[in-house]
């Protein structure tokens, strides 16, 4: 069993590495992580406290290569430190949805019956009825804005997808011979779920995780842009765009760089997710 799933990943890795687009995506993501980790070494400005009132809204120059914002803060520094928030924005909601949604999906799919069909499935249906941004706005209304609340809201928005995918796969798998065999030799339900079923659901979930990360980054930027995500002084790429909105006419470049950064990183996640899907799904031919 273990060997089988390992060889699946080895084969998938091989296929993934042959896909130039996927590798490029992975490189972009590694680049994001690199910038996030080594931010202090990439710029000597502080993204929040270094405010140069003599160079407010300055055009790109040798001192400030991407210019400055309305408080004279270096745009490049804010972008570089923004990589940290962006990394968090990619990881936190998806981690929440994964660690909450997958166990629910496993339980629901494996157990079946009343709880599955009447409670969990209905709850998922109901949750899915809320447009994801509306859900985030509702939470912002009652809990207040802020980066972590935005993360939670986006994570809740991802829950239905993670529960559904896991549940569907479990239902498809649970009557396969090897699961029945495991059950017949007396494996506990928990063991079957974690050792025999989860590894088989993982390939699908991995793809979902990568693509959800792309969505999470855009959602975080969107929430910060309308002002219910990261606070204005936090160097989130979305907050940067919010600032830029006021100066679109006079200083259009202020809007250009954060948007390009978001697009590039999201492109990375999308390309990697696509590559993973092709690598892990035997049905898709190259």
């Amino acid at each position: 069993m273990n060997r089988k799933s390992q060889s699946v990943y080895a084969l998938a890795f091989h296929r993934f590495m042959r896909n130039k687009q996927a590798v490029l995506g992975a490189v972009i993501i590694l680049g994001l992580v690199f910038v996030a980790v080594f931010a202090p070494f990439l710029t000597h400005y502080d993204p929040i406290f270094d405010q140069d009132y003599n160079a407010v809204l300055a055009s790109p120059s040798s001192a400030h290569i991407f210019g400055t914002d309305d408080l004279g803060r270096d745009t490049f520094a804010r972008l570089v430190y923004g990589a940290r928030l962006t990394t968090a924005a990619a990881v936190l909601p998806v981690a929440f949805a994964f660690f909450v949604g997958v166990p629910i999906g496993l339980y629901s799919g494996y157990k079946g019956g009343f709880i599955d069909q009447w409670i969990i499935t209905r709850l998922v249906d109901a949750l899915q009825a809320f447009p994801s941004l509306m859900l985030a706005l509702a939470l912002a209304a009652v809990l207040g804005g802020g980066f972590l609340n935005a993360m939670l809201a986006i994570g809740i928005g991802f829950l239905p997808a993670f529960i559904r995918i896991t549940r569907g796969q479990v239902i498809a798998l649970k009557n396969q011979e090897y699961i029945l065999a495991a059950r017949s030799i007396g494996c506990s339900n928990l063991r079957i779920a974690l050792v025999h079923i989860l590894p088989n659901v993982m390939p699908t979930l991995l793809v979902q995780i990568t693509l959800a990360m792309a969505t999470a980054i855009i959602s975080e930027a969107g929430l910060s842009y309308i002002g219910v995500g990261a606070s204005p002084e936090q160097p989130s790429w979305g907050s940067l765009l919010r600032t830029a909105q006021s100066y679109l006419v006079t200083q259009p470049w202020v809007a250009a760089f954060p948007g390009l950064a978001i697009s590039l990183v999201v492109l990375g996640f999308n390309m990697m997710g696509d590559g993973l899907r092709r690598a892990l799904d035997p049905k898709i031919k190259q």
């Binding site: 109901a126 949750l127 809320f130 509306m134 706005l137 509702a138 209304a141 809007a255 492109l267």
Partner: protein
């Protein structure tokens, strides 16, 4: 007909759960809602009056039934800001959002249909790769940033289109169109990316099926095979995506309306969030969720319309 009734009936538990979730939303408010609404410096009498007004002194379950009875009678309550009826607020804001949603969807279809069909008909050619590239870009660029870039190019630099604002259609159709072009294109481009991939893969699958070979064996031209035989089959899964998309647009337009300063439904929600107008937020979210449920019903019925297997009641019991 039976299919329709069955489908609508199955939506009732979902709607009930949605209403409970929306109702419980206010319970999430830290502390006493009345105090939160009125602010810390409110007098105890005012707080007590507010509690009475909101019915907070009754047990939770009674509160819920009071509220849901009112909602079912079509009364969504009054805004906490100025006491206007929330019904009226929503009705005022809805037309702009519906226009934007349909417009964006139309733009998405106009881009996605030809590109998706072309990609599927000529897989692995330059045209196919170009379309995948465009769709990859479309999925990666945040639509609000694209909107800002459009403002810079078309409103600031070229000055051909307004940067923001909204003119209702019945006031001035020409100005109305001008005011929605940028928001609709910026939002629709992203949606088109998702739709294009869906159409391509669905079409590719259909084109490999036996009945397409039959159609070719009849001597039909490629155009007839593509549009006469493949498209209708390929659209069946695409309809679901379109439904989810249209529903998602209600949320996605929140940001679009904010960039272009359009007094739509999403702007109403944002403004209410900032004004701490919980009643309006609550009602608006309820209405949007109900909308989504109804769009899903419409999608399923459209399915039945396209696919005779479901319409005539076979294999449609899932």
């Amino acid at each position: 007909m039976r299919v329709i009734i069955k489908r609508i009936a199955s939506a009732i538990p979902v709607l009930a759960l949605v209403s409970i979730m929306v109702f419980l939303m206010l319970q999430l408010l830290p502390g006493d809602p009345a105090t939160v609404i009125l602010g810390e410096e409110a007098t105890p009498e005012a707080v007590e009056a507010m509690r009475e007004h909101l019915g907070l002194n009754k047990p939770l379950i009674v509160q819920y039934f009071d509220w849901i009875t009112k909602v079912l009678q079509g009364n969504l309550g009054e805004s906490l800001v100025d006491g206007t009826s929330v019904n009226q607020l929503i009705m005022e804001r809805l037309p702009a959002t519906i226009e934007l949603a349909l417009g964006s969807f139309l733009v998405a279809l106009l881009i996605a249909l030809p590109c998706g069909i072309l990609s599927a008909a000529r897989p692995n050619t330059f045209a196919d790769h170009l379309c995948s590239f465009i769709s990859m870009i479309g999925m990666s660029i945040p639509h609000f940033w694209l909107g800002m870039m459009c403002i810079i190019v078309f409103a600031v630099e070229l000055g051909v289109l307004p940067a923001s604002g909204y003119v209702p259609f019945f006031d001035d159709p020409a100005e109305n169109l001008k005011s929605i072009i940028l928001p609709v294109v910026a939002t629709g481009f992203r949606e088109s990316a998702i739709l294009m991939r869906m159409i391509r893969s669905s079409m590719l699958e259909v084109l490999q099926s036996d009945y397409i070979r039959t159609a070719k064996a009849k001597g039909l031209s490629e155009m007839t095979v593509l549009f006469g035989h493949a498209l209708k089959n390929a659209m069946i899964p695409v309809i679901t995506t379109s439904g989810i998309m249209l529903a998602g647009l209600l949320g996605g337009l929140v940001i679009t309306e904010s960039i272009f300063n359009i007094p739509g439904y999403g702007k109403l929600v944002i403004d209410s969030v900032f004004n701490r107008d919980f009643i309006t937020v609550q009602s608006a979210i309820l209405v949007s969720a109900v909308f989504v449920v109804f769009i899903n019903i419409a999608v399923d019925l459209l399915y039945a319309f396209v696919d005779p297997r479901i319409r005539l009641g076979k294999e449609g019991n899932s």
